[in-house]
Each structure stands twice: as structure tokens, then as C-alpha cells.
Chain length 339, copies 2
Amino acid sequence: MSETPARYWVGFDLGGTKMMAVVVDDAGKPIARKRRKTKAQEGAEPGLDRVVRTIREALEEAHVDRSQLAGVGIGVPGPLDPERGIVFDLPNLGWHNVPVAEALRGELGCPVVAANDVDAGTYGEYVLGAAVGARSVLGVFPGTGIGGGFVYDGQIFRGRHVSCMEIGHIRVLPDGPLCGCGRRGCLEAVASRLAIAAQAASAAYRGEAPRLLAAAGTSLENLRSGTLAEAIGAGDRVVRDLVVNAARWLGVAIGTLVNVLAPDVVVLGGGLVEAMPDLIVREAEAAARAQAMPAFSDTFRVVPAALGDDATALGAAAWARRAPAAPRRGESGTSLVVD
Amino acid sequence: MSETPARYWVGFDLGGTKMMAVVVDDAGKPIARKRRKTKAQEGAEPGLDRVVRTIREALEEAHVDRSQLAGVGIGVPGPLDPERGIVFDLPNLGWHNVPVAEALRGELGCPVVAANDVDAGTYGEYVLGAAVGARSVLGVFPGTGIGGGFVYDGQIFRGRHVSCMEIGHIRVLPDGPLCGCGRRGCLEAVASRLAIAAQAASAAYRGEAPRLLAAAGTSLENLRSGTLAEAIGAGDRVVRDLVVNAARWLGVAIGTLVNVLAPDVVVLGGGLVEAMPDLIVREAEAAARAQAMPAFSDTFRVVPAALGDDATALGAAAWARRAPAAPRRGESGTSLVVD
């Protein structure tokens, strides 16, 4: 009797500024990583080439032969058709209606699934992070925008041929600040890391955040999550107030989503949360419980993510490894052809 | 060979002012109905007696023997534990933590399932109404409050031991009108039939809605959906403006829910919509499409409900008739014991 050869999966996190491939073994354990800059706005073809190259290098580093590659899962930073693996629109990357699953399958010769990055990250937290054992999990990841993910009944929640959970565009403040989507008062226009950074830069410019000003100036590229956390630690009270205010808006949106979805675990993730988990989780949770109806007040936990930068890649690998769901009515599930 | 005896189901709609039992045959076709006033605030025990009496009389009228009763589904106007069939709180009816499924099962000797009334109504529209064939269905039923329902993957969507879709308490207008829940600016405080009626009564009082004033005065009990529709038909422009404004707020909330849930069909139901479906569906749909993200703009239809007053009862009967879902992790599915 010959031994069954070991099988491996790759999880891929396609970000706006960097990409990462993680090779995992049959138990989901990461055994090699490869990172690369995304080089945004190169367009889809050079972008896909970089993805394939990064995956191949990660496999080499892991000493995994192509024949042992059982599947690839890729998380992408935007809406997509998760059944067909077609990415609709990644303006930062210059991608438009890209059949990413089909393209990678052609290059790598194995099954490929695609998911929204925050859906993949939430699934990762559900399978091996902060939400193991949950009935359903809401993921909230504030960054440049605010991404949402939802796992229901052990599956990534989705529409018919479209991912969803675009929670950054819940309108929390009519006539509020202008959002990148062209509307006003969206959650991400008041509570994303970028929204906090823009207000913190104003405060620094006005002389109200001297530690932040000294450390990073007023340019938004320099106002990363860690910089904000350090300024708070050093005593810039106004920066703390801005973070608290944003966390409360996150909580208002979370409470609304609890009333609608009744998740039993809410996972807060991303770099901003990772830089100051206690402050953000505490404020967001309090606001969420105040917004949730009494019937839901004891039905959910709010927790920080546990997988850090690995959440999307590990979740995408786990999504590729899972037993596929039965095909649904009106969905082919296997076709990779663009409509 | 003996013929298999025919089997029947009862769907029950427990409303705040009236209750209705509908007997359906093996094909889901209604064959008898019995209505009764709810007599709110009598409390749970007399209330359950009235429910049982109403069901028995409907069975008699249908000439269905108790031995032919295969199951009962009941829709209740509030949050509940749908697995255990325990109603949490119906303040209008004086019910608190009532194990309604267990109680009815004891009296009727057949399986009983319970669901939120709008969830049941949405399921009814999915099985035999305006949303047949949908991948997922969002139900929006404005009345005294605003109820929501959601059918996903052929099942009523729910939390762990709690129903959800409390869309009436999406906060659309911070610092907006006071809501019955104690918060401000909830959707139902600006867009329910009651919210419209209160503003229409003010307009009538100020002399701005002469047809409404002549037909119904300024007492909210008299300002039913039909009355509002007639005043609009007779030329009370301000009443029309109020309905349009409410429909637009409904649309804002629907667009938000489309961004989050990506339903492919949105069903608008209840008496208000039934009284003026064209006006409300058109305005709500336009606002929903303006609020939805581009990725979702072509992914959903907005339609008026097709089952009218029968939606909840027929949906509850269909829910009782369905093949039960597999038990989920951490849920007993059969226990009817209060925690």
C-alpha cells in the first residue's frame, strides 16, 4: 500500500498595497509565507501575474510540489461573484470584471475559490480564531474603508452571484461627511481609520495633538494605526477622543446589525483594532449594547480578532479546504464563464 | 391497500387586535378560515385558550378530524426563540416568556412551530406569493411598527435561539422622532403607518388635509391605511407627501439592507402597502436603488406582497409543512423547555 501523498492549500490575501500567499497543510497550519507589493493600478493582467508568481514562490519555499496543491482560496478587497469567482471592480488596482478564479485555475491547475477579503477573514476567525464554535459571526474590519463579513450556518453568507455585507455604507449620519461612494454620512466616512486620521491631522495642524504632530506630521500617509495609538499613549487626549467617537459609531452600526442579523459573536479586526483593541472593543461594545433591542442584549459577544494580518489568507485557505456546499437553485456553482 | 388518509395543517396569525386560523391541505391550499378578536392584555393563559378554540373551530369548519392534523405553524408579533417556540415578550398582549409551541402541542397533539409574524409572512410570499423562486427574500411590512423578515437558502433566517430582522429599529435619523423603543430616529418612528397617521392628523388639525379631516377627524384610531389612501385620492396633497416621505425612508433602509444582505427580492407588505402599492413601491424602490452600492444596483427587485392578510397564516402553515432543517450545532431543535 502506498502512502497517501500530503496535500496542501494556499490562502491568498490580495490587498490594495500588499499581497500575501500562505501555504497551509492538511490541518490548516501555515508552513510558508510570501509577501509582495501589490503595485496598484498596474491593471489586472500584470496583477494576476504577480499573484501567480507569489503563490509559486510560497510553494517553493514550502517545498510543496504542484501535484500536491489541492486548492487555492483568494480574498479580494471588493465585491465579487463568489460562485463564479469574478471580481467586479477594484478601482485601486485597476481591475474590472476579472475572472480571477478561472485565471488562477488555468495557471495553477487546481480548484480556486474567491471571496471578499473581510468575508474570508471572518471565516478564518470562525474556523481557527476568535469565533470558533459560533452559530453566526459578524466581522467588522475598519481600515481605509470599513469592511464587513458574515458567517452563517458555517458558510460565508452571500447573495445570488454577489458578495455582500457592505457595512461601511450603512448611513449613520444623514448630511454627515462625504464618503468615497459619493453619498454622505456613511459609517466609513465617520469611523474608518482614514476618517480618524483625517480628523487627527486637523487636530495636529491646529496644535491640539502635539505628540502626533511631532511623530508624524499632518500627512495622512504617516498617520497609521500604530502612530495614532502611540500618540494616545503619549498623552494626545484629542486623538483618544477621536478614536472613542469612531468606536461609538462602529457600535451604533453593530447594534443595528445585531437587531437585523442576531450574530452570537462580533469580531472586530484590522490594523486599527489591533493597535488599540481594549479601547475600541470596549467603546464599540457599549454603544452596540445600547443600540441593540432588549431581546438581543445578552445574545452576543464582541471580541477582538485573533489572527491579525493572517486572517484573510488563513480564512481563504480554510474556505478552499472546506467541503463545498450543495449547489443552490439557479446557480451553477462551477461555471467560471463571465456573463 | 388502504388509502393514505388526507393530512392537513393549520397556519395561525396571532395579531395585536385579531387572530386568524387557516386550515390548508396537503398542497398548501386554504380550505377554511376562522377569525377572532385577540382581546389584548388578557394575558397568556386566556390568550392561548382563544388560540386553541379558534384552531378547533377552523378544523370543524373544514371537517378535518384531529387525527388528520399533521402540524400547526403560528406567527407571533414579536421576538421569540424559534427553535424552542418560546415567545419573549408581547407587551400589547401581556405575554412574557410564553412557551407557545409546547402549550399548543399539549392541547392539539401535533407538532407545532412558531415564527415571527413577518418572518412567516415573508416565507409565505417565498413559497406561494410574490417571491417564488428567489435566492433570498427581504420582507418589509410597515404597520403600527415596521416588521422585517428574511428567507435565506429556503429557510427563515434566525440567530441562535432568537428571531431577528428587527428592521424597524434601524436608526435612520439621529435626533429624529422618539420611537416606542425609547431611542430616537428609528425607521419605524419616521416611516410606519402610525408615524404617517400622526403627522397626517397634525396636518388635518392645521386644516391642511380637509378630506382626511372630514372623513376621519384627527383621532389616530380612525386614520387607517384605507382612510389615508382615500384622502390622497380625494386630493389631500399633504397626505400624499407624508406617504412619499415615509416610503423614501423605507427605501433608505431597504438600500442599506441590500448592501448588507443582497436579497434578490424585496417584498413590501402589510395594510399600508396594500392600500397604495404603486405609490409606496415606486418611491421606496427609487430610494433603495439610490442608497444601494453600484455592485447591487441590478441585483434586486422590489415588489408588493401578493398574499394580503393571509401571508402570515399561510406562511406559518407552509413553515410547519416543510421538511425540517438538520439540527444545528449547539441547538436541540426539539426541546420545548424554558431555560
